[in-house]
Amino acid sequence: MELGLEVDESHAPYTVLAVKGEVDVYTAPRLREKLVELVSQGKLKVIVDLEGVDFLDSTGLGVLVGGLKRLRSHDGDLGLVCTQQRILKVFEITGLTKVFEIHDSVDTAVAG
């Protein structure tokens, strides 16, 4: 099982990271590394596009929380794109909808 991680720089100053596949304890480390890499490259306005994610568990949530924390500590920010009910639900149950800005599309995310 591969986790798709595609970086799109065409929305400067935002960097869009499109995640595809299942994010669990097996695949989440790759997402974490990618977020760390973006920060180290000075990309501090990151939008993580979750529209291609089929499954996300608490390890995945943890990595996103860690990414947000790291970006904020560099005066950056991490926004999400997600409209899938089953993925949104995981953020809702854990109360993380109050922590993340969740957008309907990449366009609205980069416009905000």
């Binding site: 099982m1 299942e22 669990d24 304890v25 097996y26 499954f55 568990d57 608490s58 390890t59 949530l61 943890g62 990595v63 929380v65 860690g66 947000l68 924390k69 904020r72 009910q85 089953r86 639900k89 995981v90 149950i93 854990t94 109360g95 993380l96 109050k98 922590v99």
Partner: protein, 154 residues
């Protein structure tokens, strides 16, 4: 309760995806469950397997994680068993509320709260020799399905 299936996997993260696949396809073919509840079960099973595998990681002997699927007229149970060191589910730390800025310091500890919300009932049997988590969903067999969209529940 009748044991429908028993599965043993190595205590390694790469096998959790297949457990999710097995449990969700079994649940959807045998039980009157809406797709949404299958997704909930999948996530709960994934969280419990993650914990079982991490618990097993802390001991040195190589052991398998066992997943059992059991059913009855009114319920489906998934049992996830490990040989890890055990824990006290009643003594888990409480997180600061999400609005607290400190909340960001907690990247972990979301698994068991999620499990509790996602399934109808959960029971932990934990000793220093290992832990068994029982996830329970109340639902009739697929044949008893009453409504078109599979949301029939007893």
């Amino acid at each position: 309760m009748e044991r429908v299936l028993e599965l043993e996997i190595p205590a390694s993260p790469e096998y959790i995806a297949i457990v999710r696949l097995i449990v969700s396809s079994l649940a959807s073919s045998r039980r009157a469950l809406a797709d949404e509840r299958i997704d909930d079960l999948k996530l709960a099973v994934s969280e419990a397997c993650t914990n079982a595998i991490e618990a097993q990681d802390t001991i040195t002997t190589v052991a398998q994680v066992t997943v059992g699927v059991l059913e009855d007229d009114d319920r489906l149970e998934i049992h996830i068993a490990d040989r890890g060191p055990g824990f006290d589910p009643a003594a888990l730390p409480i997180h600061p509320p999400v609005t607290d800025p400190d909340r960001l310091n907690f990247e972990r500890g979301l698994g068991i709260p999620l499990i509790r919300t996602l399934v109808d009932d959960v029971a932990f049997e934990s000793t220093p020799e290992g832990t068994t988590v029982r996830l329970i969903l109340y639902s009739g067999p697929a044949d008893l399905e009453l409504s078109e969209n599979g949301t029939a529940e007893t």
